[in-house]
C-alpha cells in the first residue's frame, strides 16, 4: 500500500494500483448511494419550488427524514448511534446528496460544520448529550464563525465571551452573519474570544439559551431554500461546560473543520455536476434546430465533452485524495492514535489537496452549469427550466468554505510551510530541476505503451511547478507570501498537475481492470486534459516567471517551462467527439 503523504504528489510517483477509483465501489456502498439517490428523487426533486420558497418546516422535516434513513450518521461512531463507515463511503453520501440544491447545503452544513466540531472536539458528556440527537436530526446544527467584519480573516472576530462572577457561565456578546441553517437550528457552534484573548474559543450554544436572537432570512442569488440568517448574542448565557475543547483552541477547531469541509464541498460539487450534465445532454438530445437535434452539432458536442472531461477529472482527483486520507487515518490508528485524532491529523496532512479540490470542484461546477445554461439556449435563461436554478445554486461554492482566492494562497502557503518544517522535501527536487535546466536536455523518447507519453508529461508538469515555486521562494523569500498574483499562478499549476496525474492514474488502473479497448473514451479524456493543461501550465508558469525573474535566469527558466510543458501534436476534436458521442448515446453522464 502506498504511504504517500500530503503534498508529496509533487515530488513522488504514485502507482495506479494504489489509488481508489469509483469503479471499485462495492455492493453495499452502491446500495447506500442508491438510498441517497432515491431520497432525492422522492423527497427533494419534486419539491424544489417549495424548498426554495422556504415553506415553513419543510427543510427541517427533510433533514429528519434523511436522518431516519441514516444518511446523516454514516460516519458517526456506533456508540453515538451512527454507522462508522470509512472516509470514502462518507464522501459517496456527500457526492450523491450534493445534487440536492438547497437541501444539499442544509444537509452538509448540518452533518459537516454543524455536527463535526462537537463530534471531534467535544468531551464525553457533550458528545453523549448532542451527537445522538444530531445523528437523527432531532436537533439541527449550525456553525457560527463569520461576522460582518470578519469573513476571510476569520480569526479577527469581535464576538466576546466573559466569565460570570460565579464562574458558572460565559456571557457571549456579538453578531454572526451568513449562518447556514441558522433560522431553524437547535444547536450553534459559536466562535468567540474569551476576555482579552487573541485566539478564538468555541462554544456549544442551544437555541433556548437567554440572549440569542435571529435576523431575517437573507435574500440570496441561489440556494434560496437554504436558511441563512444573522445570529445575535446579547449576554447570551452559556454554561461553562459548553466550552468546546479548551480556551483558545477555537481557531484550530475552525481550521480543521474547514479542511474536512473543503474536500466535502468538492464531493457535493461532483454530485451537482453529474446532474448538470444529465440535464444538459437530455436537452441537447431533445432540442432540434435546423432539422437535427442540437447534440449533433460540433459546438454542442465540444461543450458536452468538456463537461464530461472536467467532471471525470474532478471525480478522479476527489476519490484519489479521499482514499489517501482514509489510508493516512488507518495508518495513524494502527500506530496507536485514537480515531478522532487520527482523522483530524489525516485530514490535516492532506490540507493542501483539500484546498486544491475545493477550488477545482467549485470551478468545474461553475463551468458545467454555465455551459448547461448555454446548451439550453433561451430555456437556459428561463426560470421554468432547471438550468436556471442549477446555475445560481452553483455559484456559492467559490465563496464559502474559504473563498477560492484564499484557498489558492493556502495551497502554496501550506506546501512551503511543510517544506520549511522539513516535512516535505521540495527544495531538493527543485534544485534537481534547476540542475536539469543547465544540463543537456533529455532527448529520449517515451515508449509506445498506454500512457508512456502522458506519464512523462505529468512528470514534467511537476518539474514546472517545482521550478517556478522553488525559484520564486528563493528569489522573493519572505515577501512571496504577499505576491498573490504569483501565488495564484503557482496554485493553478499545482491544481492542474494534481488533477492531470489523478485522471491518468485512474484510467491506467481502469485499463488494467477492463481492458484498454473498453476504456477508449476515458483514455481520450486523459489525453485531452493533459494536452489542454500543458498550455495552461505553460501560461501560468510564464506569467509567474515574468513577474519576478530577470535576465539570464528568466531566459533559462522560460526555456525550462517551454520544455516541461511540451506535448506531442494531438487531435482534440476527434477525441472530444468520441467522448461526447457516448454521453449523447447514453443520454446521461456515463463515465
Amino acid at each position: 500500500m502506498s504511504a504517500i503523504k500530503g503534498g508529496e504528489f509533487l515530488i513522488k510517483e504514485t502507482e495506479a494500483k494504489d489509488i481508489f477509483i469509483p469503479e471499485e465501489w462495492d455492493e453495499e456502498q452502491l446500495m447506500i448511494a442508491q438510498t441517497c439517490n432515491d431520497f432525492l428523487e422522492q423527497e427533494v426533486f419534486p419539491n424544489l419550488e417549495r424548498i426554495d420558497s422556504m415553506e415553513e418546516g419543510l427543510m427541517p422535516s427533510l433533514l429528519e427524514k434523511a436522518g431516519a434513513l441514516g444518511m446523516l450518521s454514516v460516519s458517526i461512531p456506533e456508540e453515538y448511534g451512527g454507522f462508522e463507515k470509512d472516509f470514502v463511503t462518507g464522501m459517496l453520501v456527500t457526492e450523491i446528496t450534493g445534487a440536492g440544491h438547497s437541501f444539499a447545503v442544509a444537509f452538509s452544513a448540518h452533518s459537516g460544520i454543524g455536527t463535526l466540531p462537537i463530534l471531534y472536539y467535544g468531551n464525553k458528556a457533550q458528545k453523549d448529550k448532542y451527537i445522538p440527537k444530531l445523528a437523527t436530526a432531532e436537533w439541527k446544527a449550525s456553525y457560527c464563525l463569520t461576522e460582518p467584519g470578519s469573513g476571510s480573516d476569520a480569526n479577527s472576530g469581535k464576538t466576546k465571551a466573559t466569565l460570570t462572577e460565579d464562574g458558572k457561565h460565559y456571557l457571549i456578546t456579538g453578531q454572526k452573519m451568513w449562518i447556514t441553517n441558522g433560522g431553524f437550528a437547535d444547536i450553534y457552534t459559536v466562535f468567540a474570544k474569551i476576555g482579552n484573548d487573541e485566539n478564538l474559543s468555541a462554544f456549544i450554544v442551544e437555541r433556548g439559551y437567554e440572549g440569542i436572537s435571529f435576523g431575517a432570512e437573507e435574500k440570496k442569488m441561489g440556494i434560496k431554500g437554504s436558511s441563512t440568517v444573522q445570529v445575535f448574542f446579547n449576554d447570551c448565557k452559556v454554561p461553562i461546560e459548553n466550552l468546546l475543547s479548551e480556551q483558545g483552541k477555537g481557531f484550530k477547531i475552525a481550521l480543521n473543520i474547514l479542511n474536512i469541509g473543503r474536500i466535502k464541498l468538492a464531493g457535493a460539487c461532483l454530485g451537482g455536476c453529474k446532474k448538470g450534465i444529465d440535464l444538459s445532454v437530455n436537452y441537447a438530445n431533445e432540442r432540434s434546430q435546423f432539422g437535427r437535434p442540437i447534440s449533433k452539432y460540433g459546438a454542442i458536442r465540444h461543450k458536452i465533452a468538456e463537461q464530461a472531461i472536467q467532471v471525470f477529472v474532478l471525480e478522479s482527483s476527489l476519490y484519489r485524495c479521499t482514499r489517501d486520507i482514509g489510508n493516512a487515518i488507518k495508518a495513524l490508528e494502527a500506530g496507536g492514535m485514537d480515531h478522532v485524532n487520527a482523522l483530524l491529523k489525516g485530514v490535516e496532512q492532506f490540507a493542501t489537496e483539500a484546498a486544491i479540490l475545493k477550488v477545482l470542484g467549485s470551478e468545474v461546477t461553475d463551468y458545467v452549469m454555465d455551459e448547461g445554461v448555454q446548451i439550453y439556449g433561451g430555456m437556459g435563461y428561463s426560470a421554468e427550466a432547471p438550468m436556471d436554478r442549477a446555475y445560481r445554486d452553483a455559484r456559492i461554492n467559490r465563496i464559502f468554505e474559504g473563498t477560492n482566492e484564499i484557498n489558492r494562497m493556502l495551497i502554496v502557503d501550506m506546501l512551503l510551510k511543510k517544506a520549511m518544517k522539513g516535512e516535505l522535501d521540495l527544495m531538493g527536487p527543485a534544485m534537481k530541476v534547476a540542475e536539469e535546466l543547465v544540463s543537456i536536455p533529455d532527448f529520449s523518447e517515451p515508449g509506445d505503451a498506454l500512457f508512456d507519453k502522458e506519464k512523462k508529461y505529468v512528470q514534467n508538469f511537476k518539474k514546472s511547478v517545482l521550478m517556478v515555486a522553488g525559484s520564486a521562494a528563493q528569489k522573493l523569500m519572505m515577501t512571496l507570501s504577499k505576491e498573490q498574483e504569483i501565488l495564484t499562478n503557482i496554485a493553478d499549476m499545482a491544481i492542474w498537475t494534481y488533477a492531470a496525474e489523478s485522471v491518468l492514474l485512474r484510467v491506467e488502473k481502469l485499463a488494467i481492470l477492463k481492458g484498454e479497448e473498453n476504456v477508449k473514451e476515458q483514455v481520450a479524456m486523459v489525453q485531452t486534459y493533459i494536452y489542454d493543461v500543458a498550455d495552461k501550465i505553460n501560461k501560468a508558469g510564464k506569467d509567474a516567471l515574468n513577474s519576478f525573474a530577470e535576465g539570464d535566469e528568466l531566459r533559462m527558466q522560460l526555456m525550462g517551462i517551454k520544455r516541461f510543458t511540451k506535448v506531442q501534436a494531438f487531435n482534440p476534436k476527434t477525441a472530444r467527439q468520441t467522448i461526447a458521442v457516448k454521453v449523447i448515446d447514453e443520454n446521461k453522464y456515463c463515465y
Partner: protein, 246 residues
C-alpha cells in the same frame, strides 16, 4: 403469518436494450439490474407492513443465478427476514413458477405475493401459474389487502372500477400500484442485509414450454409532421393511412 414474496430482476429503466444470439436473447452485458418495481414497491412492502401489524416472517425468493444476489440483498436491506435463491435458469414463466411451487409446496406459507408483472417482459403469468401448481386461490392485480384471521379481503383493479374478493389463506396475489408505497432502505437495513440468510437451493429441474423465436425493437421514432390547422383532411388521411390510429 408466513409470507413469501417472489422477486425478479429487471433492467433499470434507463438501460439500453440490445439482443444477442440472432435476436433471441436479451443482451445483459453492461445492464444495471434493479428489483422489479412491482415486486419491490408493492409486494414486498405490503408483506413487510402485514408482518409489522401481525407478526411473522417475510421471505423473498428468486429463481436464477448468482447475478441475482445483489437484488436479493436489496430486498433484505428493505426489510425481508431471509431469502432463497433457486439456482436454476429462469427459462420462462412456466419454469419459474414450477421451481417456486416445487420449493414452496411443503413450506406452508400463508401468503405468496408477487408483482403483477416484470417491467421488462410484462408476462404477468408467474403468480397465476404458482397458484395453479399449488392448487390454491389466486387474485390478480390486487391493490388492497387486509387479513383477518384466516380470511384475506382483497381489492382488485378491474376495467373501469374495483372488485372486492374474499378468500381463505393460503393465497397467491399478483399486486399492482396502490398496494403500498416504495420504501427506501435505510442504513441499518443495508448493513443488516449482509448478515441475513440467503439460502441457495438447487433447482428441481423444471422445464420450459415456450421458446423465444425472436425479439425486435419498436421502429425508431420518426420526426413530427406539421399540418396546417385548416387542413383537417390531410390530418385525417395521415391518421388513417400512415399512423393507422383511426
Amino acid at each position: 403469518m408466513k409470507i413469501l414474496v417472489c422477486i425478479s430482476k429487471a433492467p433499470d429503466t434507463t438501460s439500453k436494450i440490445l439482443f444477442t444470439d440472432e435476436n433471441t436473447k436479451f443482451n445483459e452485458t453492461g445492464v444495471q439490474f434493479i428489483v422489479n418495481p412491482y415486486d419491490e414497491w408493492y409486494a414486498l412492502v405490503r408483506g413487510l407492513e402485514l408482518k409489522e401489524q401481525m407478526g411473522g416472517t417475510v421471505t423473498v425468493i428468486a429463481v436464477g443465478g448468482a447475478e441475482n444476489d445483489p437484488i436479493i440483498r436489496k430486498a433484505l436491506a428493505i426489510g425481508a427476514d431471509d431469502a432463497i435463491r433457486i439456482d436454476a435458469e429462469a427459462l420462462d414463466a412456466f419454469a419459474v413458477a414450477q421451481e417456486i411451487s416445487n420449493y414452496v409446496s411443503d413450506k406452508s406459507y400463508d401468503l405468496i405475493l408477487c408483482g403483477k408483472e416484470t417491467i421488462s417482459y410484462n408476462g404477468a403469468q408467474v403468480p397465476g401459474l404458482i397458484a395453479e401448481f399449488m392448487d390454491i386461490a389466486f387474485a390478480s392485480q390486487a391493490i388492497k389487502l387486509e387479513i383477518n384471521g384466516t380470511i384475506a379481503t382483497i381489492e382488485c383493479d378491474v376495467q373501469g372500477g374495483t372488485e372486492v374478493l374474499e378468500a381463505n389463506l393460503p393465497i397467491v396475489l399478483s399486486v399492482a400500484k396502490g398496494m403500498a408505497e416504495q420504501r427506501i432502505p435505510n442504513m441499518r437495513g443495508i448493513m443488516a442485509a449482509r448478515t441475513k440468510k440467503l439460502e441457495v437451493m438447487p433447482g428441481s429441474g423444471a422445464t420450459n414450454n415456450c421458446e423465444v423465436v425472436g425479439y425486435s425493437l419498436p421502429a425508431a421514432k420518426s420526426g413530427c409532421k406539421y399540418i396546417d390547422p385548416d387542413n383537417a383532411e390531410e390530418l385525417i388521411s395521415l391518421l388513417r393511412n400512415e399512423a393507422k390510429a383511426i
